[in-house]
């Protein structure tokens, strides 16, 4: 028997296990998945927890609920990957040998990389919303808050789900408006980018939206340290931003096992071929989702599209056929904009988000790069799709792995 070993049972690894099990010949192949955590979180839902729109229970399931019975699942910390020996060692002393390795170990926030952040009353006045603990703590803090200076701060790029900090800011504006204290809350959006977002046309639209919502955009801010006692951010060129509550998006890094195994770049992301998803260093290692160094967004939709293409490529690899260079960097993201509305953007490596209709040209029903109620309902409906369709590795009707230019105003 030959083995496909999948490291990580998050969005990417779970989809991949489901898809591969349906495609691989069970007489020849077994699939093993390793992950250290028992819980699977619906991460897009973390955004809603601080504003009491979702609870921890809404976003939490067991990982094993989404992995097929015929896949071996091991819950253990991965000690080291040894690519030259086609072997992975676990912390419990066991080793697993593989024929094909799929690395889907994701990305984590590393607050310790931002000088002073962990000493700045982390969990009291400074929070993240990229972990369930962070967003639950933030919900408690915001609940009794009477107003003051709220700062949403991105430490450095790249980050997982680059639209999430904007969505957080829009939802904060709505939340404080509903509570009747919006006039008592000053909101600042502090970013190392030159505008609200990474892609020019969307950045223009979203910067304008921040302005309409009376949010101060502080661009080109490169953080040197957080001064927790004075409650301020200080940049390398000595700009300062005061806060009462800091919502931080700390440095994102790939899993520490990648560093221990000497397989990553300076942020522990694995050099990966941007169209085939094969690792650049080893031909029987493939990389999926946030663990790659690809210039695509780190997001669940990207992992989903990648999984479709990687399934094909694993089959090609097994049959000694050339890999397909089909991955185009496709990402598809809802952006909550508050007051029951949302945006939808659809883009890839080469085509930035533009206006148009989605998924059907002209008909839609969803509008691209435009605010609408339909997009907000799309975002809420997506939780059901995530648990029931996406994680199971089924295609989402009418949505293709490669981006379509039809219906887009290019």
């Amino acid at each position: 028997m030959k083995k496909v070993l999948i490291l990580g049972a998050g969005t990417a690894g779970t989809i991949m296990a489901n898809r591969l099990l349906r495609k691989l010949d069970k007489k020849d192949w077994t699939i093993t998945v390793v992950d250290q955590h028992p819980k699977h979180y619906y991460q897009p839902g973390f955004l809603f927890i601080p504003f009491e729109m979702y609870t921890e229970e809404d976003v939490t399931r067991n990982k094993t609920d989404f992995l097929p019975k015929n896949v071996e699942y091991i819950q253990e910390i991965i000690e080291i990957i040894e690519p030259e020996k086609n072997r992975v060692k676990l912390q419990n002393g066991k080793s697993i040998e593989y024929h094909i390795l799929i690395i889907a170990t994701g990305t984590n926030i590393v607050p310790g990389e931002v000088d002073g952040l962990l000493n700045s009353s982390w969990g009291e006045n400074a929070f993240d919303f990229y972990t369930v603990e962070g967003s639950v703590a933030l919900a408690k803090r915001l609940k009794g808050w009477k107003g003051g200076k709220l700062v949403v701060h991105i430490a450095e790029m790249p980050i997982k789900c680059p639209v999430a900090p904007l969505e957080f800011t829009f939802l904060a504006d709505w939340y404080f408006s509903k509570k009747g204290i919006r006039d008592d809350v000053e909101i600042k959006y502090v970013t190392p980018l030159s505008g609200a977002f990474t892609k020019p046309r969307a950045s223009g639209v979203l910067s304008h939206l921040l302005e309409n919502k009376n949010v101060n955009l502080v661009p080109d801010f490169n953080i040197m340290h957080v001064d927790g006692s004075a409650k301020k951010l200080v940049s390398f060129d000595e700009k300062e931003v005061d806060y009462d509550i800091l919502v931080s998006i700390p440095t994102n890094m790939g899993d520490s096992v990648i560093e221990r195994s000497g397989m990553g770049d300076e942020l522990n992301y694995i050099p990966t071929h941007k169209h085939t998803l094969q690792s650049k260093a080893h031909e029987n290692i493939f990389v999926l989702g946030d663990a790659t160094d690809l210039p695509s967004s780190k997001a669940g939709s990207v992992a989903h599209f990648e999984a479709e293409i990687l399934t094909e490529n694993i089959l090609h690899f097994i049959r000694n056929k050339p890999l397909k260079e089909d991955f185009d960097g496709h990402a598809n993201c809802f952006i909550e904009s508050g007051f029951g509305k949302g945006f939808l953007i659809d883009f890839n490596y080469d085509v930035e988000p533009v206006e148009g209709k989605f998924p059907l040209p002209i008909i839609g029903p969803m509008a691209l790069l435009k605010e609408s109620r339909m997009n907000h309902f799309g975002k809420l409906a997506f939780k059901w799709i995530y648990w029931n369709v996406l994680l199971r590795g089924w295609p989402i009707p009418m949505i293709t792995a490669q981006m379509t230019k039809l219906g887009k105003k290019l």
Binding site: E156, M157, P158, P162, L193, S194, T198, D220, N222, M224, F236, D237, D265, E266, L267, P295, S296, S297, K298
Partner: protein, 104 residues
């Protein structure tokens, strides 16, 4: 594509004044661009720019600030003093390299 006369030489530049052909770059051209940017070049500036040029030659891409500071060539605080307001944008322009791509 536009051409621009820098330090007495016609070179190809993009709309933001970045050289589009690194082979046309010389130290004199670097000095002239630095002057336009209001930067007086010292040995420390050159060390940073030589590192960027070496990385582009070897890897085909500009390093990140993190990679640059990890290399021991310069620390971040000094980098911002050398090239205020966007060190990578300025250093790559003076060094005759492409503008750093904004992230995803």
């Amino acid at each position: 594509m536009a051409t621009k006369n820098i330090a007495g030489v016609d070179v190809n530049v993009n709309e933001e004044g970045y050289l589009t052909d690194h082979s046309q770059w010389t130290r004199e051209i670097g000095e002239a661009i630095a002057k336009e940017e209001g930067i007086e070049l010292t040995e420390s500036h050159w060390k940073v720019m030589e590192f960027l040029q070496k990385e582009v030659k070897e890897n085909g891409a500009l390093p990140t600030i993190r990679r640059l500071t990890k290399s021991g060539v310069v620390d971040t605080k000094t980098l911002y003093q050398l090239f205020p307001d966007g060190p990578m944008k300025k250093a790559s322009k003076i060094a005759g390299l492409e503008k750093p791509a904004s992230c995803v």
